[in-house]
Amino acid sequence: MSAVALQLTRLLSNPPTAPEVKDWTAILSCARAESLAGTLAFRLQGQPLPVEVERLMEDARRASLTVHTEALWEAEMARRALAPFAIPVILLKGTAYAAAGLDAAQGRSIGDLDILVPRTALPKVEQALLAGGWEWVKEDAYDDAYYRQWMHELPPLIHRARDKMIDVHHTILPLTARPTPDAQALIADSIPLEGGLRILAPADMVIHAAAHLFADGDLAGGLRNLWDIDRLLRQFAAADAGFWQALHARAKRHTLLPAVHRAGRLANDLYGTPVPESWRVWDSADPLFKARLLARDGWGRATRRALRFGFYVRSHALRMPLPMLARHLWTKARR
């Protein structure tokens, strides 16, 4: 477990600990590697910092604002391309947080544009995006077929002039995963923003973040994703006294209660997120998840190789049953 990564999580949740930092270079490299540099910079605003650190934080805040402007513009470009169909277009992840002005957006890195649309609308959406200047990133017949048959999103598209990727989702987990989220409910209960785009309802937003982190993938970038969950939980719980109950019921409906509970426990552990007492139970796997989340040293290097590999294997096991995985790897290896 990395002391630097742990100190980074403490700085984020408790900025007044800034004067305890001895090696800012290490914190900075760790934060950059975890895509948390912008978030850290906003969290430390107003804290007493060494002059050169303050300057770097100011750079990071400015860089983050530019990135958000670009992300919102990209969302607007997608909105315009899809406007003729009158279908709901729901922003996901970073762009959604930024568009809705949520606390989770502050300083957050935003890469690709992620949107959710009804599965029945996919053919239209795909055609409209291709006509609007997006093109396929990979032109491989197997990958393409795999995405279309088993994944929760179209193969990634990239805009040829703006060089920005878009991931078009029709649900929030691969179809091969064991949990079966109710995509129709996600769309039906989504919330309109000014301008015509939509975001997920609060509980669904948390559930998506938790599903992405703990029920899919290998936890790469996990500290950032867990920070999202911390911010969302704090903000939604403060705004609505019934939020925890609504979250519980909703997570159950999406068959994602275990992922949401784990997200709550680990956010509470690493970021001090206030979660209901009944959520704070002991789980034998949590220490492994925690160690994986903190597997980053002060040079920005990935540590805990064996543990990382274990989670990488797990990500495939989550995604598909063993015979299917074998076939998949065989096909990939032969080309």
Partner: protein
């Protein structure tokens, strides 16, 4: 990491870590006399084995750090010094947000700066180093750092990268200023030259941009000077900048100011003597 060095170059502080001793020892020698950063470093560069087991088969240096190019090819271990130099360039190109970064050489006289920019191989590196030994203060041969607030140019006096025959032009310099000869690099034979003591001593002093030149070197070229209009200048400098787009409106504003306030010319030359004479002539005419 096992071996490391902290290095201040102009307004930028680097931390360079390596799994091998030699690249760090070579860097330390090449950058002898440079100040050590007082506080936190802006960027971290890591020189590490491509994969942990591969290092025993054929040691090659992967260039990593705070900012990485996913498909950057590793270099053989004998080119470790070059890997460190490329690593520092990469951090600047991908991560620098405090200055508008122009791919240009720069020299200074009387508090005023001359910028030398243009395509790779045009001679800007050699020419800025040469002027640095002939009465100008050398500010850098790779990146010029334009201050986004006041429009001044900050020095970034890294070791000069002399390619192929260019090293011969500096044969008279003190031998301890040279790095090792690096054969078989992607750009041919490279030898680094430490800037002179005056350039290192003044690395914290910015200068006001006064003239921009686009040099073009060609053995058969007749010496010539052509004007460069403000619009062409702007377009060419957006291409010469690695972070113009990422800086958003602030990048646009500061580049616009530079192009409005600074005259620009393109010059052709066939020898370095010719180039130095042309530069002096244009500089005098602009005073």
């Amino acid at each position: 990491m096992r071996h490391q060095l902290r290095l201040q170059v102009g307004p930028v502080a680097f931390r360079i870590g390596s799994e091998w001793a030699r690249p760090i020892a070579q860097l330390r020698r090449l950058y002898a006399g440079y100040p050590e950063p007082e506080g936190a470093c802006d960027f971290t560069v890591r020189l590490e084995a491509e994969t942990p087991w591969w290092r025993f088969v054929r040691p090659s240096v992967a260039i990593r750090g705070d900012y990485v190019l996913p498909d950057a090819a590793p270099l053989p271990l004998v080119l470790g010094l070059l890997a460190a130099e490329m690593g520092m360039n990469l951090q600047m190109a991908l991560g620098q947000r405090r200055f508008l970064l122009l791919h240009a050489g720069a020299v200074e006289r009387d508090g005023r700066a001359l910028l030398l920019t243009g395509e790779s191989g045009a001679g800007k590196s050699t020419l800025s180093a040469l002027l640095g030994e002939r009465g100008w203060r050398f500010m850098g041969d790779e990146f010029a750092l334009l201050d986004l607030d006041d429009g001044r140019l900050h020095p970034f006096p890294r070791a000069v990268s002399l390619k192929n025959e260019a090293a011969e032009l500096f044969a008279g310099m003190a031998p301890d200023r040279f790095g090792p000869v690096l054969e078989g690099t992607p750009k041919g034979r490279i030898r680094h030259l430490r800037p002179n003591a005056a350039a290192i001593a003044a690395m914290a002093e910015p200068a006001v941009p006064a003239l921009i030149l686009f040099p073009r070197f060609g053995a058969g070229l007749a010496a010539a000077v052509r004007p460069v209009g403000a619009a062409e200048l702007f377009m060419r400098l957006t291409q010469a900048s690695t972070n113009y787009v990422a800086l958003g409106p602030r990048g646009f504003d500061s580049l616009l100011r530079l192009c409005r306030d600074t005259p620009a010319k393109a010059i052709d030359y066939a020898s370095s003597e010719e180039a130095v004479a042309l530069v002096e002539q244009l500089w005098e005419a602009g005073r």
